[in-house]
Point group: C2
Chain length 213, copies 2
C-alpha cells in the first residue's frame, strides 16, 4: 500500500526537521533544497527525492515554506505529539539520561524509571520516582508506554529488551554496548559512543600514515 520508504530516508527526516526549526527560529520563511543542503552537507537532489516519497511540498522557482514543511515533517514522523518513555537502568548513565533536559521539549516524556539496585529505588530522578525492576511488567500492563530506554549493564541488556518487547513496546533506544535482538516489528536504535570512536580511529590512523602534515 504505502510503497516502501527506505529507512535511510526516514533517518534523515529528523535532521531536516531540526534544520527547519532552526530556520524558523531565525525568522526565515522559505528555503530551497540547495540552501538546506548546504546547511546539512546533503545534496539538494537528495532532499528533493527524500521529500518526494511523501508528497509535493515545494513551489517551483521559490523553494519550500519553512513552517509548512516543518509541520509536514513533524506529522510524517509523528513528532507532533507526546510520546511516553520509560527508562530502565538508573545507574550513572541512566541518571544522566533522566536528568537530560533535551527529551521533554521534543515531546518525549519520561514517565517512569526502573532499577534493580535498592539504593536507587525510591529515589527521585528527572521528575519520576525510581521503581523496582520487578514492577516493570505490571507497570507496562497498566500504563501506556511507547518507547523504552535501556541503560543497564551489557549483561542485563538483552533480558531487559526482551521484557520490554514482551510487554508490547515497539521502539527501544539502547545505550548498552551489545547488539540486542528484537522481532522485526520492533524498532531499535543503538547509542554507543565507543563504537563511534572505534570507527573514527581507522580514519585517523590512515590520515597519519599518508598525508601527515
Amino acid at each position: 500500500m504505502t510503497l516502501e520508504i527506505p529507512e535511510v530516508v526516514i533517518n534523515r527526516l529528523p535532521v531536516y526537521a531540526r534544520a527547519l526549526a532552526d530556520l524558523a527560529a531565525r525568522g526565515e520563511t522559505v528555503v530551497s533544497s540547495q540552501a538546506l543542503g548546504e546547511m546539512l552537507d546533503v545534496t539538494p537532489a537528495q532532499i528533493r527525492k527524500d521529500l518526494s516519497y511523501f508528497g509535493r511540498f515545494g513551489k517551483q522557482g521559490r523553494g519550500y515554506n519553512v513552517q509548512g514543511l516543518l509541520a509536514k515533517l513533524r506529522e510524517i514522523l509523528g513528532i507532533d505529539r507526546q510520546w511516553r518513555v520509560c527508562l530502565v537502568g538508573v545507574g550513572r548513565l541512566g541518571q544522566a539520561i533522566a536528568e537530560y533536559g533535551g527529551f521533554g521539549p521534543q515531546g518525549f516524556q519520561i514517565v517512569a524509571a526502573f532499577d534493580a539496585n535498592p539504593d536507587v529505588v525510591g529515589k527521585q530522578v528527572g521528575g519520576v520516582t525510581v521503581r523496582h525492576i520487578d514492577d516493570l511488567d505490571a507497570y507496562l500492563r497498566a500504563n501506556r508506554v511507547d518507547i523504552g530506554i535501556v541503560a543497564v549493564p551489557a549483561s542485563e541488556a538483552q533480558s531487559v529488551v526482551d521484557r520490554l518487547v514482551n510487554a508490547g513496546i515497539k521502539a527501544i533506544l539502547n545505550y548498552a554496548p551489545i547488539t540486542a535482538h528484537v522481532p522485526r516489528d520492533v524498532t531499535i536504535r543503538h547509542i554507543d559512543p565507543v563504537l563511534a570512536m572505534q570507527s573514527m580511529t581507522f580514519y585517523i590512523k590512515r590520515s597519519e600514515s599518508s598525508g601527515a602534515k
Copy 2:
C-alpha cells in the same frame, strides 16, 4: 592504492570486534561467519565480504580463530593502542561523559577537559582538572590530542568544532544537536538520542495504525 573501503564496512568492524571479544571472554576459540552473523543479525556473506577487504583470515571448513581475528580487527581499526581524547563542554552532559567509565578500558583516555563556565573551571572531573576554554588552542598546540568530544550547547558547537579542526584534530565526536561542518579530511560522528527517537516514532505510528493488537 588501498582500494577504497566503504564507510559502512568500517562502521561494522567495531561491532564484529565487540562480538569477538565477547566470544573470547566466553572461551570460544573459533567462530564461523554463520554463527557470528546470528549473534549480530548480519548475513554471513556480509561478514565474509567485509573481512575480505582486508585479507583472508578464515580457514575453510573451520571458520575464524576468535583471538586471531579480534587481534586483526583491532589492528585494522587502530584500537590496539591508546588514543588521547579531549572533552569540550563540562555541563551536565559533559560531566557524565567525563565520568563514564567505558572509554578508558577501550583505550580512549580523556586527557583534558575545557569549559567556559568559571564555576566549573578548576573542578576535577573524571580524573582531570577542567581548564578554561580560552586555553584550548594553547593546550592543543602543546599536547597531542587525537579526538575531540564536543558537549557544548548547540549555539557554541560549530565554533568549538572549528577550533578543534584548526588545531589539527582529525576526529570529532559531537554530542551537540547540530549538523556540524568539517573539512573532508576530518571525521565526525554525531551522538543524538533525540534524532534516534524521532526516526523510531515514524515506525511506531505506522505499527499502531496498521496491525495494532
